[in-house]
């Protein structure tokens, strides 16, 4: 079969099993768009901004585990995609971005819409390729998917000069089923001796703690994590990226840890004597001041990426390998071993944890005349029975969503944890809705963030993607305002969103439903109404309390046991004395 470069690309995507590509046309990719036009196996979603394309592909990837695919033109198309590529890179999301490039002969001449896409994206891709010869096209595409989806996943960009995709030049095409790369062989199995040592240390613990991260979600290891955690009977906490890998409502789960983690999770981190880190990378939002991190603990760390081991925190037992495989091996060992954990010590540890939990660190003022942002997420949880796909933007609303929507399944919580990209939420929700048209998909956002990719409302209409936008409208860049309140003596420099649009009318002008709610008493019924409109996009503009802050909060330089807690939480102190350090 003789095909042109464009036809090879489209045929390859088909053969690779790609259902959707998110893209935006332009001069350098017109040949490709022409080839797309002549088929309907690979469905193209026309976004309204290339950033939206990358986030939508990213949301699709997070929700499904399959790589997201993006097609953009050269120059501004490629640069607009960079934010979304960097977002995917920071969270290790599998993605393949095809960017058009000016014809090979013009590269380097400052041609119209020329940008060095390889150079621009180099620091935020797992790898990138410039295709110089049509004969390498199919193999390069295969390598791109292979690299993006294996090992520690990540975005890969393939830059395609226009002449490579020209309709006149045709070559024989065959789908490359397998590809070998001499310089890329990710480790799969963990070292048996390390695994054995880890199991021994775990069973010798008196105050153990499991800390799991996004790697468990990415590595499809939720079942293995649940099995090992239940066998051990240990408390577990998750990072922002790891929510859902272990059921949020399970009694062994202490919730999220880190800067806005729960009191009990952070206290348990501080007091534990053995820390078991699973697919987590000791990010600074987790560790706080590294010199105060888990001062009593010996640390076990499973990670697919050797470079994550002992990068920020020195660990005692590193295990490099696929987390699914390593946990399965551990589980087997746990079943075989004679060694038993110290039941009395564990009981005492759970009792201590229970005291921390009893303080109810997420308590908030329920008598307020204003809608509290926390109550919006609780309402969302109720109405969607905890089963929705929830994307979020970045800010206070993101933290409230993470704290108040306990996810019981992985891949339901879609947020930009590593890069913290405002504008991620709506397109990511679109990607998830594309993949799961029958599921409830909500985008929890703020009036600041939503305006960073609001244009995608138009895409939602065109492709019939009835996502629900839950906008916690506090008329502030709330997270910025919170930091200014705490650290800049309430000098609210440029954190007030003046001149906001009327979101209800805005939604309507895009052909959607807009609802505003201001009264706490109306919240639940409006939430019901929102989700009852199965086939409409609903923009729910919730006017929330402007002054609410996210608690608990670990401030710069503090350890896990040194949290700023909420006024409501403070009222619950008294009865218990949790502060004393354990020996």
């Amino acid at each position: 079969m003789e095909l042109s470069g464009s036809e090879i690309l489209v045929q390859f995507l088909k053969d690779e099993g790609v259902e959707y590509i998110f893209g935006y046309p332009g001069g350098a990719v017109l040949h490709i768009y022409d080839a797309l036009h002549r088929q309907d196996d690979v469905k193209h979603i026309l976004v309204r901004h290339e950033q939206g394309a990358t986030h939508a592909a990213d949301g699709y990837a997070r929700a499904t585990g399959k790589p997201g695919v993006v097609l953009v033109t050269s120059g501004p198309g490629a640069t607009n995609a960079v934010t979304g590529i960097a977002t995917a890179y920071m969270d290790s999301i599998p993605m393949v971005v095809i960017s058009g490039q000016v014809p090979s002969a013009m590269i380097g001449s400052d041609a119209f819409q020329e940008v060095d896409a390889i150079g621009c994206t180099r620091p935020c891709v797992k790898h990138n390729f410039l295709v110089k010869d049509i004969n390498n096209l199919a193999d390069t595409l295969k390598k791109a998917f292979y690299v993006a989806t294996t090992g520690r996943p990540g975005p890969v960009l393939v830059d395609l000069p226009k002449d490579i995709t020209a309709p006149q030049i045709k070559i024989p095409y065959q789908f490359p089923k397998k590809i070998k790369m001499r310089s890329y062989n990710p480790t799969v199995k963990g070292h048996p001796r390390q695994i054995k040592k880890a199991v021994e240390l775990l069973l010798s613990a008196r105050r153990p703690m499991i800390y799991s991260g996004g790697g468990v979600v990415l590595g499809n290891a939720a079942n293995e994590l649940r099995e090992v955690t239940r066998k051990l009977g240990f408390p577990i906490t998750q990072t922002l990226m790891g929510l859902g890998a272990y059921p949020g409502t399970d009694k062994q789960n202490l919730g999220m840890l880190g800067m806005h983690g729960t009191y009990e999770a952070n206290m348990a981190m501080h007091q534990c004597d053995v820390l078991f880190a699973v697919g987590a990378r000791f990010d600074d939002r987790i560790t706080g001041d590294t010199s105060k991190f888990c001062p009593h603990a010996r640390i076990i760390h499973i990670d697919i990426d050797p470079a994550s081991i002992s990068k920020n925190i020195n660990v005692d037992i590193p295990i490099v390998g696929e987390v699914k495989q390593v946990l399965a091996d551990m589980s087997k060992l746990l079943a075989q071993t004679e060694q038993k954990s110290d039941a009395a010590a564990l009981d005492a540890w759970w009792k201590r944890i229970g005291e921390w939990q009893a303080q109810d660190c997420l308590a908030y003022d329920k008598s307020s005349p204003h809608i509290k942002p926390q109550s919006v997420i609780e309402s969302l949880y109720k109405v969607t029975r905890g089963e929705a796909y929830v994307s979020s933007d970045v800010g206070q609303h993101q933290m409230f969503a993470a704290q108040f929507y306990p996810f019981d399944e992985p891949r339901r919580w879609l947020n930009s944890g590593g890069l913290g990209t405002m504008g991620f939420g709506l397109p990511a929700a679109m990607g998830a809705k594309m993949a799961f048209p029958d599921a409830d998909v909500a985008c929890v956002t703020g009036e600041g963030s939503i305006q960073m990719c609001i244009q995608e409302l138009s895409t939602c209409l065109q492709y019939d993607l009835p996502v629900k936008i839950i906008c916690l409208n506090n008329r502030y860049l709330g997270m910025v305002r919170q930091w200014q309140e705490f650290f800049y003596e309430k000098r609210y420099s440029h954190s007030y969103m003046d001149a906001l649009p009327d979101f209800v009318k805005l939604a309507e002008s895009y052909g959607h439903v807009g609802i505003r709610v201001e009264n706490p008493a109306d919240l639940d019924s409006v939430m019901e109404e929102t989700f009852a409109m199965k086939d409409r996009v609903v923009f729910l503009d919730v006017i929330t309390d402007q002054t609410e802050n996210v608690y608990p909060m670990i401030q710069a330089g503090a350890g896990h046991n040194d949290m700023e807690i909420s006024p409501e939480h403070k009222k619950n102190l008294g009865a218990v004395n949790p502060e004393g350090e354990l020996a």
């Binding site: 620091p123 310089s183 470079a307």
Partner: protein
């Protein structure tokens, strides 16, 4: 501590910028970096001299290994190895006494004079970096017109080799 890291990398146009970019993006030091194609034209051999604590060096080698273009890596400093660097120096050489002095010094360091004018010598010298530094120090202040250094290369002693 100073480390000499040898790499075999894919001989592709982007490989060098990926490696240099990694050092600048992560704030690692590069003392020198040399690169040339090997006997296998698909591979380049690169030698990087860098400094850092053990922890940083560990990160450097891991991050380098993560790059898809890096085929193999060896931190020479872990074993017994030979290090060499080459240098050209153009030296002001006016008057019989000074010309004789430079020739004498060059002999001591086994440096070769490879070009001569009525007022300059060009000298070639190979050795470990410290030897090159020492030679430069012996030359009278202000007489060095130009130096060209290759950066260090290294090879492991004995039968072991960095090959694929």
């Amino acid at each position: 501590m100073r480390h000499i890291i040898s790499l075999l990398v894919e001989n592709e146009s982007g490989a060098l910028s990926r490696i240099a970019g990694l050092f600048s993006a992560r704030g690692y030091n590069i003392e020198s970096l040399t690169v040339a194609t090997t006997e296998d034209p698909t591979l380049s051999r690169m030698t990087i001299v860098t400094t850092g604590s053990d922890r940083i060096i560990e990160q450097i080698t891991k991050q380098l290994n993560k790059l898809i273009d890096v085929v193999k890596l060896l931190d020479m400093t872990d074993g017994d190895f030979i290090e060499r660097e080459m240098m050209f120096v153009k030296i002001r050489a006016e008057g019989e006494a000074k010309r004789a002095e430079i020739q004498r010094l060059s002999d001591i360091f086994r440096a070769r004079i490879i070009d001569v004018t009525d007022s300059t010598f060009s000298v070639e010298l190979t050795g470990a970096g410290a030897k090159l530094d020492a030679y430069l120090k012996t030359l009278p202040d202000g007489d060095v017109i130009e130096t060209v250094r290759s950066g260090s290369m290294g090879i492991i002693r004995g039968k072991k080799a960095l090959t694929i």
